[in-house]
């Protein structure tokens, strides 16, 4: 029979061994793999790129890689840093449906709401978020009643480590999208949002990952402000290709360029909430990766419809629509486009740079493909406000361009004589220009941002943004199915 003291000793010995084994297990570092992309912008299908090669990217190839890596490490998290949609025909024609359906099938753990997620309207995004199995994160977007627009964060458990993934969206979203898309929403300063949520996150998680759609500069500022609280920032919005990883103090910031050209892979070793080892790389997505057949066949259902949709009639023209040439903006197509843009925005005048109108349309049916060829860029329409004096300067610039045979702009709502580099005999709906009045100008965002040297427009106050020019033209044709625009000499060049 054992003595009482021996029994107590055995009890403590077993307890000690058990606790030692437990703590050994607890302190065993977690090998965590984070796979990430950002700013895919509707690049679901492989594409050609003069910088990184032909036949690269594609969601089906990325899916293969994600699945393969998950098989080698079950402690893998897959994240997308926003702007998943918008920018390709397959995205635009199906209003994001193909994009969101693909996202559901690729094994993502979370996506942050990017500013372009609003491009197909708030109702579409709301419905997508509601039905999505992949959590949409946005901690700094609030609704009118103060509730979150999307989940602020999720907690994932890998091994014994609790990982918080928090989403932050650029506060500039209301400035760069149509006001209707963000109606009733409030975008808080992400630093303020993070400060408020930090105590809660610290209680619930051992590791904090910020999934950011704010841009690299803003990610750096976030990292500087919270150097010990955040372990990883997976970023987007600036389309930055971070392929040199110098792990020093503070959070690791990663970003994987754009369009799914690469899949980012970050391997970290975590011990008691501290990152003790880091390795990161960008994996090129190319034709050497076998596409995932499930994703490929899912996308095929959309691809097979693209041709018929691109060739679908959206209107009719009774005359040939002729694009302008450099220095000679006399074009019925350019006149019509500026008229459409002016009407859409209710602006005093509208502008469209010569280089922005890229193709002719023959007399007869107008297809979506025709509109795509005329306006291939994803430019949006902007409404700006200027003083009469500023408008005079803008028109003088156009006159100067016209007199010197340089690229100039088509106009609507105004006519003038271009003489000795100055705009004279200006007529705005039959009235002369009043320097004391304010005027509104509709133009594409390329011009509004000073593109092609239109630097005067860059100074104009923006009133609102609208959607891409193509959609505006298609909307117009729904209301006016047959058109017959004439070329008008709205800028009369006096030699």
């Amino acid at each position: 029979m054992q003595s009482k003291s021996a029994r107590i000793l055995s009890f403590f010995l077993i307890g000690f061994i058990y606790l030692t084994m437990m703590s050994w297990g607890m302190s065993k570092p977690l090998n965590l793999t984070i796979l990430y992309d950002n700013d895919v912008h509707g690049h679901l299908l492989p594409f050609n790129d003069n910088r990184y090669g032909q036949d690269i990217g594609g969601a089906a190839r990325r899916a293969t890689l994600i699945n393969d890596i998950k098989k080698t490490n079950q402690n893998t998290i897959v994240l997308s840093a926003g702007d998943w949609i918008s920018g390709t025909p397959v995205s635009g024609l199906f209003r994001g449906k193909a994009d969101w359906g693909t996202l559901q099938r690729m094994g993502y753990d979370a996506i942050v709401v990017g500013n372009h997620e609003f491009d197909y309207g708030q109702p579409v995004l709301r419905e997508t978020i509601k039905s999505s199995q992949v959590p949409f994160l946005a901690a700094n977007i609030y609704q009118n009643d103060g509730s979150y627009f999307a989940k602020p964060y999720i907690i994932l458990k890998k091994g014994k480590t609790r990982i918080a993934v928090l989403g932050l969206t650029t506060q500039e979203t209301p400035v760069v999208t149509h006001p209707k898309n963000v109606e009733g929403l409030e975008f808080e300063n992400p630093l303020v949002t993070f400060s408020k949520l930090l105590p809660e996150l610290k209680k619930k998680a051992d590791l904090i990952i910020v999934l950011s759609h704010m841009g690299y500069e803003e990610d750096i500022q976030l990292a500087r402000q919270f150097p010990k609280d955040i372990q990883v920032i997976v970023g987007g919005h600036s389309h930055t290709k971070i392929d040199t990883f110098n792990k020093s103090e503070g959070p690791i910031i990663v970003q994987a360029y754009q369009w799914g050209t690469f899949l980012g892979r970050l391997d970290i070793q975590v011990e008691k909430g501290n990152v003790i080892n880091t390795q990161a790389k960008l994996i090129p997505i190319n034709s050497q990766i076998k596409p995932n057949t499930k994703i490929e066949s899912y996308l095929q259902t959309y691809v097979s419809q693209i041709d018929s949709l691109m060739n679908k009639q959206v209107g009719m023209t009774s005359v040939d629509l002729v694009k302008p040439n450099y220095g000679h903006p006399l074009s019925n197509l350019a006149c019509w486009l500026t008229d459409v843009f002016r009407e859409r925005m209710g602006a005093d005048i509208a502008l469209q740079n010569t280089g922005g109108t890229r193709a002719n349309i023959n007399k007869g049916p107008i297809t979506y493909n025709d509109i795509y060829n005329v306006l291939p860029f994803d430019n949006t329409l902007v409404l700006m406000q200027v003083s009469g004096t500023e408008l005079q300067e803008i028109l003088d610039d156009l006159a100067n361009r016209a007199n010197s045979g340089r690229e100039t702009s088509a106009i609507s709502g105004v006519t003038f004589l271009a003489k000795n580099g100055q705009a004279t005999e200006i007529s705005l709906a039959g009235r002369s220009l009043d320097p004391a009045k304010t005027y509104t100008i509709a133009a594409n965002d390329f011009m509004a941002n000073g593109g092609s040297g239109y630097t005067l427009l860059k100074k104009a106050k923006v009133i609102k943004y609208d959607t891409v020019l193509r959609d505006i033209v298609v909307d117009y044709l729904k209301e006016h199915p047959v058109i017959a625009p004439q070329a008008e000499e709205r800028i009369k060049v006096v030699k």
Partner: protein, 75 residues
């Protein structure tokens, strides 16, 4: 970073482009910095844009206040 103001931030931003400080609209993209010729080079793949840390930026990347970017032309 933008202030804690709840209203939409509309003030312009300053960006250093090839060593010159220029003012841009908020929300402007990398491509808006480029001249027509520079844009052609980038689209052909014979030039690209780098930030001050040497990271490449896509042409549709959004600019931020205080960024310093420059064009790298491939020989």
């Amino acid at each position: 970073m933008i202030d804690g103001d709840k209203s939409a931030p509309v003030l312009p931003i300053s960006v250093t482009w090839n060593g010159n400080l220029i003012e841009m609209r908020r929300g402007a993209k990398v491509k808006h910095l480029l001249s027509t010729q520079e844009l052609k080079w980038c689209n052909k793949g014979s030039a690209f844009v780098l930030d001050e840390d040497g990271n490449e930026m896509g042409l549709d990347g959004t600019l931020s206040n205080g960024m310093a970017l420059y064009l790298k032309i491939l020989k």
